[in-house]
């Protein structure tokens, strides 16, 4: 018992020395290049639970262990090549109840289909605030290039995101590199499976050591039951010390079309 406490203290000390290990476990998603059609809205609920995560309060930030994150994402299509998304982040945890965490806004543009690029390409930029008890960096900005490609039954997506803290301990860090990637395979028209990878390597040109990087690998399934619905379920592991060890995630999305359907449109 005594030995176990000793290890816990060592682990807590290691985490405390990490450069702001704020994990974005509110919206765990590798973006595809497509945007939402104009006059339509996608409403998504991202539900993420951390069965085994950070167990200690560090720098005034609540531990992630046993946190349940519910994120409401509302994306409105603007044109055939642009959209804007809004996020409301919440967290539920024993002893803290349901708490509002923060809000983000994410405009996105994509390469129009008429350009006939061999891959789907879009760029999103996300600006937002999160309370300091959930992330030491309260104001953050992200630019996320998105590249994807369908190859028969295979789907590949890569999001080499760059992050910048505007307010918080990482302001001095500069631009951080947080790539995400997905490899999917269509088992049938309705069921796809795949692997998603999320990471935070730290500052561009001066990455953290592997030990201190955030790395998450998710085994996921996408259920394409209807064009109106989006269902993504996954379980992830964080093999590095700076990452929550187990996370379960789910995305339930519903597509609403506000266009008055006409046969001659």
């Amino acid at each position: 018992m005594h030995n176990r406490k000793w290890w816990i203290w060592i682990f807590a000390l290691l985490c405390a020395t990490l450069p702001a290990c704020a994990q974005g476990n509110y919206e765990i998603q590798v973006y595809g290049a497509d945007t939402i059609e104009p006059k339509s809205t996608m409403v998504e609920l991202h539900s993420n639970y951390t069965p085994d995560g950070q167990k200690y309060m560090i720098d005034g930030v609540y531990p992630t262990n046993h946190q349940e994150h519910e994120t409401l994402e509302i994306t409105q299509g603007l044109t055939s090549w642009s959209e804007v998304g809004f996020y409301v982040f919440t967290s539920e945890q024993n002893g803290h109840g349901v708490q509002w965490v923060g809000d983000h806004i994410r405009p996105r543009v994509r390469v129009p289909d008429s350009w006939h690029w061999p891959v789907g390409v879009s760029v999103s930029t996300e600006i937002g605030y999160q309370r300091a008890v959930y992330s030491p960096d309260t104001w953050t900005w992200e630019i996320r290039p998105i590249i994807d490609k369908y190859l028969g039954r295979w789907y590949l997506a890569f999001n080499p995101a760059l992050e910048r803290t505007w307010h918080g301990p990482d302001v001095a860090q500069g631009v951080g590199f947080s790539p995400a990637a997905k490899v999917g395979y269509d088992f049938s028209k309705k069921v796809s499976g795949g692997i998603e990878y999320y990471a935070d390597y730290g500052r561009l040109g001066d990455f953290y050591s592997l030990h201190n990087q955030q790395q998450q690998i998710f085994l996921v399934t996408d259920l394409n039951v209807s064009p109106k619905w989006e269902i993504n379920i996954g379980v992830g592991v964080g093999p590095t010390a700076a990452t929550d060890h187990w996370i379960i995630k789910g995305i339930l999305g519903r597509h609403f079309n506000w266009k008055k359907e006409s046969p001659v449109d």
């Binding site: 289909d113 008429s114 006939h116 369908y150 190859l151 028969g152 269509d186 796809s192 394409n224 001659v264």
Partner: protein, 437 residues
């Protein structure tokens, strides 16, 4: 007696000059100001030259293939032997890259037909029917009544395709440009008519994959023939629906002087260019378009009334079930007829002189314009409708998840190809051969 041959090589061309020549070559089609489509065309024009044949009078056409790939020219809607029909699956020789061929045949039946390439395109959306390789072919009857003052030929086509995800989960071609006679609305000369004229419109949908709906603002179409075959009951309609490879012959009484638009009823396709101005003599200005709010078309409006004069009882029914096979969200579906994809599809054996009923059972979520080579068929039953007769066609659109029956008489021995006329479907297995005993 049918005269037919498809000779390859130069020797045949030295024997006698051909009646017509067709050069298949690369062509830059100017569809709009500062908008050029690099394609392949017949005689460097889109559509290709209008060929007018006399019914039954032998004709010789020399075809030169100046492209880097094999080609073949299919004479769509004609009753020709398989060696010259223009489908390699039936036995017509391919025209190799840089090669030439001579087609000799006695054209029949009379009516509005067309000719087009019949090669595999697959994922190459710049080949096959995605190109400008199509042209009008009119077989004039021996006695042409000619109850019209002017004849106008129009080809509907879609260009600049890319594969995009569709609602059914597979990739399908989608187009950036849609044209009539190779030009977008507002580019090129308008159609010119005179008040009081009766104009015969010969309209062809040469699109590789798309169904089109056409209206002429301010006017009605009097449909007199479908796929070149006179209909039992000509009818006035406000719009036409043409699936890929279908033709409509319609008379229009020019009694509304002014400038009008003839174009696609659906707004996004007209916005992509599918329209053409029509001007009465002495009229000018911005052509007017009256936007319809509904789509309306029914084959049965043109059917004969009453029962068939002498119903054939000894009809052999051949059910043909169409279905798709998922190949991934990043691929086009594969297609099957009775569970098999070409070249593994069944080849039913026909007996000459016998009447056959083809029951098209479309189990897929796509509509299919199916085409039978070298024969015409009669529409016999449309979904949810009683038996019918009097409409002869060579291509018919079978709506998704419905059944449609046609009948034909096996009267033209030889391998006979049947397929969906959507290029992406026929390339992905939606094809079969009938053989004669």
């Amino acid at each position: 007696m049918t005269v037919a041959s498809a000779a390859l090589g130069g020797r045949a061309q030295q024997i006698a000059p051909a009646d017509y020549t067709i050069d298949i070559a690369a062509y830059a089609l100017e569809v709009a100001p500062r908008r050029t489509i690099k394609t392949i065309a017949y005689n460097r024009q889109v559509p290709g030259p209008l060929l007018r044949f006399k019914e039954g009078q032998p004709v010789t056409i020399d075809v030169t293939n100046q492209t880097g790939s094999s080609e073949v020219v299919h004479w769509h809607g004609l009753f020709l032997p398989p060696q010259v029909d223009g489908a390699m699956e039936e036995g017509t020789p391919a025209i190799p890259a840089g090669g030439h061929a001579r087609y000799t045949f006695a054209p029949r039946p009379a009516g509005f037909r067309w000719y087009h390439t019949h090669v595999f395109a697959g994922k190459d959306l710049h080949r096959g029917q995605y190109t400008g390789e199509h042209g009008f072919l009119l077989i004039e009857p021996r006695d042409n009544p000619g109850h019209y003052d002017q004849e106008i030929f129009l080809a509907l086509h879609d260009w600049d395709a890319a594969l995009l995800a569709s609602a059914d989960g597979a990739m399908d071609p989608a187009y950036n440009v849609s044209t009539i006679n190779g030009r977008v609305l507002g580019f090129g000369e308008p159609l010119r008519v005179k008040a009081g004229q009766q104009v015969l419109f010969q309209i062809l949908n040469s699109s590789p994959t798309e169904v089109h709906w056409i209206a002429l603002a301010g006017h009605l179409f009097n449909v007199i023939a479908l796929d070149g075959n006179p209909v039992a009951q000509p009818q006035l309609v406000s719009m036409l629906r043409l699936a890929p490879a279908e033709r409509v012959s319609a008379l229009v009484q020019m009694n509304q002087p002014g400038a009008w638009v003839l174009g696609e009823v659906r707004k996004h396709i007209m916005a992509a260019g599918m329209g053409i101005a029509l001007e009465y003599a002495g009229s000018s200005g911005q052509p007017r378009w009256d936007q319809p709010e509904e789509l309306s078309w029914d084959y049965l409006r043109f059917a004969a009334s009453g029962q068939t004069a002498a119903p054939v009882t000894d009809v052999v029914t051949i059910p043909l079930a169409f279905a798709s096979k998922f190949a991934g969200h990043g691929a086009m579906d594969h297609w099957t007829i009775n569970g098999k994809s070409y070249p593994d599809t069944d080849s039913p054996t026909l007996t000459e002189g016998r009447r056959y009923r083809l029951s098209f059972i479309n189990r897929s979520t796509n509509d299919h314009p199916v085409h039978l080579h070298r024969h015409s068929f009669e529409l016999r039953r449309l979904p949810g409708r009683p038996e019918t007769h009097g409409i002869l066609k060579d291509t018919v659109l079978v709506d998704a998840q419905t059944q449609l029956d046609v009948e034909f008489t096996a009267n033209d021995p030889g391998a006979t190809l049947f397929h969906c006329h959507q290029q992406n479907h026929m390339d992905a297995g939606f094809m079969m051969l009938f053989r004669y005993a």
